[in-house]
Symmetry: C2
Subunit: 251 residues, 2 copies
């Protein structure tokens, strides 16, 4: 039985193709201006790559902020549910899901059946999201992906501002006074880590803490979050596809 | 008895010279990079303009976010206290002070003696502050001061995002799809008005609502706030100097 999950995020659209409870393919692309077209395009790309016809797919389930635009979907499911389902599928020991997305952050707590017990979602404030790092990286004339390496050996500069707009001025000021990009990068990643940890502590951190989303591969963030929460994070190469897998499982 | 109040804001530094309970002079300048130098410079400018020597001033009181940098001050007082004192001085019927500053917003509730009963201050989030309008005006290639006139006759576009960063993308998108600058300007001012009104409602709106701060002269904002709160706003040509006057009164 084939199912497809499409997770249309504000920044990146992710897809997962599943067959009888196993992930057999994944695909991702920038969401760009049109979530609608991107969702459709990703569906066809994913199917084509795996030589599967749309007719042979039992169900297509859409999630993420752009899920309502997906006409080909048989149903739409919220990202909280999908992230919960996906995280539990990836490792049934996962109880707390931490997700840092391109423009949002969420923390979901699960019971031992993978049901959502509680959650916090922030999609109203750019602070602590991928967007925050994007804005800062632009000022530093580096790519977001370079922040991790830059930060590696540096002592983080403690930033006074969480707000993206105020932190932007702060970073411009720091650069002007000759602070190293490395220590600024470390400070920025530390700030993002502490924002999500505060959120996690509000929901309650239960062991089996899974780090999901596009920034889950960032080792500096992994370490900073582990230090702050005092737990070892569960990681997965499928981290970015957690929501898409959860959606496919709902199919 | 001469006293001086200096209100070192994040964007603009304001000064008031008082003699025996009357305001005899005011002065303002952009705070710029150095609150310390600006505070000092403003003090000397204000005194020089009114041919007053520093020795003849009984007390200099500093307030605002940069107040600690003011070495010449005899004391420092928080902006909440000073705004309360200043608003009560300007009109003893004032009970609720609404202030939209360059990088912060505050609402202060006063008793019938001018004492602070309750307040909310936001200086952590750029949404709803002058900075929000600044960022947007830059994208629209107009000056902040032009937003009022632009907005005058327009139907406001309802913005989906309060966050400065997300609203920025929204405005860029609106401009790209041909929305008029006039209706965007109206939407932006409406958004700022609704943010401060929500804050005011949390503190509790008591009649005698005084609109203070740098944006108090903006008639579009005045009208939008009046509509939302259902009260007539108290206005004053000294609005921007409310904090500085309050500081001078503490001297
Ligand atoms: S303006 Fe700053 S603090 Fe406010 S919502 Fe946006 S990023 Fe967050």
């Amino acid at each position: 039985l084939l199912t497809v999950g499409i997770d249309i995020g504000s920044t990146v659209t992710k897809g997962a193709l599943m067959s009888d409870g196993a992930v057999i393919g994944t695909c991702r692309m920038p969401t760009g201006w049109s979530p609608k077209e991107t969702g459709q395009h990703l569906l066809y790309t994913l199917l084509k790559e795996h030589r599967v016809s749309l007719e042979s797919v039992h169900r297509v389930v859409a999630t993420g902020y752009g899920r309502q635009t997906m006409e080909k979907a048989h149903k739409q499911v919220t990202e909280i549910t999908c992230h919960g389902k996906g995280a539990y599928f990836i490792n049934p020991a996962n109880r707390t899901v931490i997700d840092i997305g391109g423009q949002d952050t969420k923390v979901v707590r699960l019971d031992d059946q993978g049901n959502v017990v509680d959650f916090i979602m922030n999609d109203k404030c750019a602070a602590g999201t991928g967007r925050f790092l994007q804005v800062m990286a632009t000022h530093m004339e580096v790519d977001v992906s370079q922040l991790e390496e830059l930060a590696r050996e540096a002592a983080p500069i403690q930033l006074n501002n969480m707000c993206t707009v105020f932190a932007e001025s702060e970073v411009v000021g720091l650069l002007a006074t000759g602070a190293s990009k490395a220590s600024i990068a470390a400070g920025l990643l530390t700030s993002v880590a502490s924002k999500i940890c505060t959120q996690a502590q509000r929901v309650g951190v239960v062991e089996g803490v899974y780090f999901s989303g596009g920034l889950a591969e960032n080792r500096y963030l992994q370490r900073a979050i582990q230090d702050k929460l005092g737990v070892t994070l569960q990681l997965s190469p499928l981290a970015q596809f957690t929501g898409a897998i959860g959606a496919a499982l709902m199919g």
